[in-house]
Symmetry: C2
Subunit: 470 residues, 2 copies
Amino acid sequence: MANDWSTFGADLHLELRGPRLRAGLTDALREAVRGGRLEAGTRLPSSRSLAADLGIARNTVADAYAELVAEGWLTARQGSGTRVAHRTAPRAPAPRSRTRAPRPAAPAHDLKAGTPDLASFPRADWLKAYRRALTAAPHAAFGYGDPRGRDELRTALAGYLARARGVHARPERIVVCAGFTHGLSLLGQVLRARGARAAAVESYGLGLHADALGRAGLGTPVLPFDEAGTSVREPADLDGCGAVLMTAAHQFPLGGALPPDRRAAVVDWARGAGGFVLEDDYDGEFRYDRQPVGALQGLDPERVVYLGTASKSLAPALRLAWMVLPEGLVDEVVEAKRAADQVSAAPDQLAFAEFLGSGAYDRHVRAMRLRYRRRRDQLVAAVAARSPETRIGGIAAGLHAVLVLPPGTERETLRSAAWHGLAVRGLDDYRRPGASRAADGLVVGYATPSDSAWPGALEALLRTLPLRAG
Amino acid sequence: MANDWSTFGADLHLELRGPRLRAGLTDALREAVRGGRLEAGTRLPSSRSLAADLGIARNTVADAYAELVAEGWLTARQGSGTRVAHRTAPRAPAPRSRTRAPRPAAPAHDLKAGTPDLASFPRADWLKAYRRALTAAPHAAFGYGDPRGRDELRTALAGYLARARGVHARPERIVVCAGFTHGLSLLGQVLRARGARAAAVESYGLGLHADALGRAGLGTPVLPFDEAGTSVREPADLDGCGAVLMTAAHQFPLGGALPPDRRAAVVDWARGAGGFVLEDDYDGEFRYDRQPVGALQGLDPERVVYLGTASKSLAPALRLAWMVLPEGLVDEVVEAKRAADQVSAAPDQLAFAEFLGSGAYDRHVRAMRLRYRRRRDQLVAAVAARSPETRIGGIAAGLHAVLVLPPGTERETLRSAAWHGLAVRGLDDYRRPGASRAADGLVVGYATPSDSAWPGALEALLRTLPLRAG
């Protein structure tokens, strides 16, 4: 049927009137070529004759032909008429070749750590902040922005971080980024460009963070730990490192706060070695039993890079995070960020500035702190009642706890969890290659479910735990 | 005054009642240490005596001391009392050391190319789309997202790109990115990881695009050009290249559309060499005198990567752009993106999906097309009237035009522009290292000013042009 012009007009399904006629004809012809109905080399009817067939103006056809010649679908040569171009043999996108394995059914309950309760995202308050910000924004806010981020947000963050986290923050030292890993990647690039060969990481942590440093060309030696937490007493552990990445306020996932002498020791190392501490303060807002542990950065703003995020306190989907940088790193980080074209959307930044400035952020954090604390208390009480020998660690803060399991039972317990429809991770998932093992355990993200899903998730967790003699 | 305890209580500016008392005391002490008012080694008064001085409960002071010991600001040893820690000698952030040169006054008029009319950003329509999107979004939309971007947006884009740009787009081939350069950086990484050594670029273009490829480890040889545009007739020019970056629909900044035979030739090269064409379709929506030139990608979706952006059609500040990928590149690009933590904020993506789906995007693009076309017509008419010998190129499409200047006069004309308070760039600013010179000229971004600023900017431009015999 490729050359059967008698039916071609009908095939085109043209609306034969109105301003879209030429465009419709062009589109239909293009589709016919692309789809293979018109093969390469096929000579098209003259514009006069197709126009007559279709009952439309000749110029309309001629214009469509010219358009398609310009696009390379057709060729037009004096004497040989208009033909389907040879080079443009139709190549539809190949169908997806691999057959993907069918996905297992999603688990019914989710206690994987790392995500806050998404159902509690304060939509109305956020929308209010967004509306105010969008309405008040100067025209220039819609252009290409400062790679450091909007002034309004950096000013609001400086105030908030000083107040809530004891961070020495000045707006000109703050760089807004699209997430913690984004910030870490930029820092890795900068450190590598300065000649650093490695950045030490803790024995337990997120693999993707070490990966981000690795992609920047840095080795990632692992720091040892003991009962008190990550050990930074032996400077030899940091030999050759340009930086050390730490979750000082609340080790992820083990859960402890770095003791004062170790906080001081790591800052001392940075001062002596000219290195930097990269402080991952992912959940600093959430501390339940006493005042928050202040940020390490306050001890020496010139040697500690503070990294915070709205991903746990508000929502990961906003892609809003921030770095507070030593003076000496500001320009290099800004240049790396500028080159990579990564600025969070200005309206989001302005909305977050408004959200912080209006007190909505404090209100939300307070409400979530109460909610998560209640869940933590329920978790502790339920485990004590149902599995009294199970020790729970890391409960003073944050969005997760560690349930310490009898030695050698972690994998079996994870299988049990899957059986009970519970998505949860074991401690070993977070152990870095080469690190010694802290314990068998489950990392329970009690913030993850919605309020309505929480009781079921908790029950599934309790059923997952090994039965003990009691 | 560091040790003058008699006035210390007054200095703390404490609210001496209420739940914030302990926190206030802690903050004030921390500040005193950090700011240097309390020097390292200073012994603090006992909690009993400070409490008495301040007229507050002893436990409040003891708690504050304990907190600061935990943070490393103070040390407490049996027998020696509580002292300011030695390791935490106060180090306020160093003042910004370099004196920055005073900035010259901002030019009064701006015709630099690359930014749309920011005053025309459709705030009300965008806000409406954002509100709808935020209200309708499932809870999961606030979590960590699919690195490809939201389904809703990829589906809306697939429909739009097929209809408006002749792109063969299926949602699973689309990856949302935070800007053109972000997408290009990811592609550069992927191509380099596949073993490509170089990606060819056009003789004229944005330096930061070539830089992005360079940072990925790719060489960026320059393609020659002639009157018809970038020359891709000699496959030897592409020897050793894994890709070629092109602005096929509207060369930036020279302004021409790549002729049909060259469109075909570059796709032929990609097929034969197993390479890829990276199609930078930055302003494909804006064509004034005839139907838009369809995207090159339609010729072979397996060898052309289509890159589009909302930066010119809507606003750079949204950080929304997209790639339509060949099947063979999808997984690698998605993995590179996942690793780098760069997903545009989901609410923005959902708002843009709503904006596209509701027809608001088409309406906005149509309105802006009329507005920019009117400005282009005014530019052409004014230059013809006031400087009849000046040739204007690249006016069929886009947001900018090229004013061709008498040979050897570009730098002088730019000085004249500065004198007239006009920010504008010369063609040579866009010439890539090693490329031959097309002409002396000004690249006039007539879309950049607001409607109210446009007449003044045009007048400044006309005054800038060299006087000719006439």
